[in-house]
Every structure is written in structure tokens, then in C-alpha cells.
Amino acid sequence: MHPFSFTKAATTREALNSGRRGGRYIAGGTTLVDLMRETVERPETLVDISDLPLREVRVTERGGLRIGALVSMSETAAHPKVRSLFPVISEALELSASAQLRNMATIGGNIMQRTRCTYFRDVTADCNKREPGSGCAAREGFNRMHAILGTSDACVATHPSDVAVAFAALEATVQLLGPDGERRVPFADFLLKPGSTPNREQAIRQGELITAVDIPALPRPLESGYLKVRDRQSYEFALTSAAVALHIRGGVIREAKVAAGGVGTVPWKLPAVEQHVIGERPSDALWKAAAEKAVQGARPLSGNRFKVDLLKRTVERQLRIVGGTR
């Protein structure tokens, strides 16, 4: 680990001042400290933001949620309002990492976390995300865990977060605070596909601070849930996953929010699946036909062709779990 200076921000203003001068914010630290030890991350100054007043979960006027950036993963998952209004968020969180890590890691940090691509973590390997222009060792390397959607010649790494898949499905908004004031960024625009600049991962500016993630209100009743498929049953990243929320009234699907994880360079929203089921009645045939659309544009690599079928089955199963077959 490279040496760094350390400061703890007592106020948001103090944090922003440090951030503007190049300080790197640290919240839970579960990704950042790990990557600093591997010398993938080499911040000169760490700014501890854990004292900032961003620890509240509250229901917004219309029945959405605002989750403060510093609420831990475990507190978010256990929050009664999160559990009752958006079980998909609680389920995604509780299927992530371990109990210890969930106690440490925060919601803001979760969506800032970096890929678990082993070549990214290995400073001796070629990686355009870590060292722009050096190449991508994963393309022709061990890429079983890598992405089949949203990839580019420069990068095929997956985004590792589970709750970000739920946020993408629910069309969350990221609330940012910077030297120039507040700004709101739709979740779909917050995490960036690699393109030719895989080193740019989030639409966040130097010194900006995530203050909250907002979940919009959705029509009720709303059924939602998260399914994660992985090599071992717990404490493992997704091979594939699906976040599904459905508003069904009078036996007809009126609203559908669907996204997939473990398959995209960013959490992968599935509008074609959503459009396929809206206005229809739940049935096995509907779920199967809708899930076919989940893999539109998929470009598997040498080691992850299996993800194409696995993704279809994951989406189909989760649509059935959430929507039933009435």
C-alpha cells in the first residue's frame, strides 16, 4: 500500500473542500482499502466521510424511498420500509458479500465499487480500466465470469454490485453534491459502459459526493424480488441475476421493471422484457417468451457462452417467482 495522508471531515463543507483538492472519499472502505493494498488504487489523501449526516432512510411523499449514501448495506436491507416497499432491494443486499462486509459497506460506496475482474486487480496484467491503453487480458484470458452485454474492445469486465441491479430496474436517481451545488443523475446514466474509456466508470465529477439514492414511487400493489445464480450458494459474485418488480391489477401486468446482473459491464436494464409483459396476463408461456428478449445483443466470450442460456432461465424464473402464473 502506498503512503497516504488522512483527514476526517466533520462537515459536508469540509469534505467538499478536501474533495476539490483531490482527496479521495472513504466510507465503508471495503473496496478501496482492498484495492489500495493491491496498489490498484493509490490515493494521496483519504477523506473519511463517515461522520456526515447521510445516514437516513426515509419514505418520500409519494411513496418512494430516499436512502442516505452512508447507510450501511445491512441497515438498508433490514430497514422495515425497504423490506415492505421494495423487497427487491433488501434481497439483493442480503445476497451480497458477507454479513461482516455488509456491516461496513455503504450504499454510496456500493455503487462506486470497482470491478472484480482479476486482471484489473493484478497490477502486472494488461487492463485498460486500470492502465488506459495497456490492453485487455480478459478478452483472450480466463473470462468465464465476464460480461456478455455492454462490452467493448477495450473492456469486458462486469459491474459486481447486486443492489445496483435493483436500482437500475427501479430507475433510481443518484443525488450528488459538489462545489457547484446539487445535481441529480438517473441511475442509467450514472454507471458508464466502458466504450473506449473503461477507466471512467461513473458520471461523477472531481470532488462530488453522493448524498443519497432515490427510488421513485411505483403504483401499488407491487411485487418485487431478486434472484442470484452463482458458483456457490453464498458469499459469491453473480454469474447471472435478475431484479424484477411487477404491478399487477385485475390480473393484468400494468407495470414492469426488470434488470439483470452478472452479465453486463453495467447493471443491465431490460426494456424489451418489460415491454413484452406489460398489458399481458401472467403465464408460463409469457415469462418464457419475455426472457428470450433478455439476451438481445449478447456477445459471449470464449469462456462464458453458458451465460446466454443461464440469463434467459434466470429472468424467466424470477418473472415467474414475482408474477406467478395466475
Binding site: 503512503p3 461482516q100 461496513m104 450458494q233
Partner: protein
């Protein structure tokens, strides 16, 4: 009750409760390793590279931090890079918490910080101003073992024992969080602790036994 200790300038790795002159297994190994390095340096006929590095580098940034460990208030000045795990093991001589992966993947370093179980290897010590830390050494009440420590013995829930302090601290957290309604639930909520001897069945029983008594 917490007692106050003056600022620690304890040279690692001697423990706080050990007489500095008595060789322990740890100091013996450390001394032997240094001796070996000196011989190697002599063979290649030059000074050790390490010396040049140290001379060239500026002193790394340090911070002063006060925290309570197992009821004892401690104040130390540490290199900012120091993890809580290294602080416990190398500065305070509390070697019960183990370094397995040093990357948050194995759970051997699990301790409680302000009552919540965390991976001490991924916790920077400088961030713990005012924190209350409980390690495996702080679990027993005098000679009376914590119920989960007793249960691990009664259930024979370990072989090599390396993961055990982390398993027990994590189990204490798991019980406190209330995730012990079934063996399946315990397994899921203890999944952050790896046991390469494969004692999982008995570990689950030990946690179950302790949770049932409460």
C-alpha cells in the same frame, strides 16, 4: 470498566502483557528471519536493498488515534496504512485475531467494532477514533468462557483452529443480529467465515446451541 493506558510505544511484536526480555514464539521467529536476511545480504556482498529504500523514503504519514480495546483505552500513533488487524496483532500483541486472506474474503480477522462484526483487515486503524473494539481475547469474563467459546469446545467445532477466533466473533455477531432461526439461516449468515478443515456442521451446531440458551 475501562482502564487508561498511556500512549503506547510498544515495539512490535512484543505483547503488552509479556516481559520484553522473554522470547516468545513470535519474537523467536522474527529474530531468526532477520538473521537469515543478514546472511543472505552478506552472500551477495552488498547492502540490503531494503536499507536504500528506507533511506530514500520520507517517513510515511502517521496519525494518532484513541480507541478502546476489550475495555482498555489505548492511544497510539500509527502509520495511516495500518489495518485494525495489524494494530491488534503487531502493536497490542493481541494475536487471537488471525490474518488469513488480508482481503476480506475469509473472515479469520473478524472482530466487533461498536458491537458490529467487521473484517479488521479492511478496517483502517486511523478511522477508529473513539471506537470500542472487542476481540476474541475480550470475550471471556475472567476465567469464565463466553457461552459460544464453551459451545465450540463442547461441539468440537474446530480442527486446526486458525479460523476459530473469527468464527466465534462472527457467531457472537450473528446471534446478536438474530439470524439463528434455523441451521440454514445460520449457514447463510456465517458464510463470511471460511473453514478449510470443513467444520461447518459443528460450527453451526455451536452457534445454534448458544443462541438457544439465550
Amino acid at each position: 470498566m475501562s482502564s487508561e493506558l498511556p500512549e503506547s510505544s510498544v515495539p512490535p511484536p512484543t505483547g503488552a502483557d509479556e516481559p520484553a526480555s522473554a522470547p516468545t514464539r513470535r519474537t523467536f521467529i522474527a529474530t531468526t528471519a532477520v538473521g537469515g536476511a543478514v546472511v543472505a545480504g552478506g552472500v551477495i556482498g552488498g547492502t540490503l536493498l531494503l536499507d536504500d529504500d528506507v533511506a530514500a523514503a520520507e517517513a510515511p504519514p502517521e496519525s494518532r488515534v484513541s480507541l478502546t480495546v476489550n475495555g482498555t483505552r489505548r492511544t497510539v500513533t500509527v502509520d495511516n496504512r495500518t489495518s485494525l488487524l495489524d494494530l491488534l496483532r503487531e502493536h497490542f500483541g493481541l494475536t487471537g485475531s488471525k490474518k488469513g486472506c488480508n482481503a476480506g474474503a475469509c473472515g479469520a480477522c473478524t472482530v466487533l467494532v461498536d458491537g458490529r462484526r467487521v473484517n479488521s483487515c479492511l478496517t483502517l486503524a486511523v478511522r477508529l477514533e473513539g471506537a470500542e473494539v472487542t476481540t476474541i481475547e475480550g470475550l471471556a469474563e475472567g476465567d469464565e468462557l463466553h457461552p459460544l467459546q464453551k459451545a465450540f469446545i463442547e461441539q468440537d467445532a474446530f480442527q486446526c483452529g486458525y479460523c476459530t477466533p473469527g468464527q466465534i466473533m462472527s457467531g457472537v455477531g450473528c446471534i446478536k443480529e438474530g439470524h439463528t432461526d434455523s441451521p440454514e439461516e445460520i449457514r447463510e449468515w456465517m458464510s463470511g467465515n471460511i473453514c478449510r478443515c470443513g467444520c461447518y456442521v459443528k460450527i453451526v451446531r455451536a452457534v445454534e446451541q448458544t443462541a438457544g440458551r439465550k
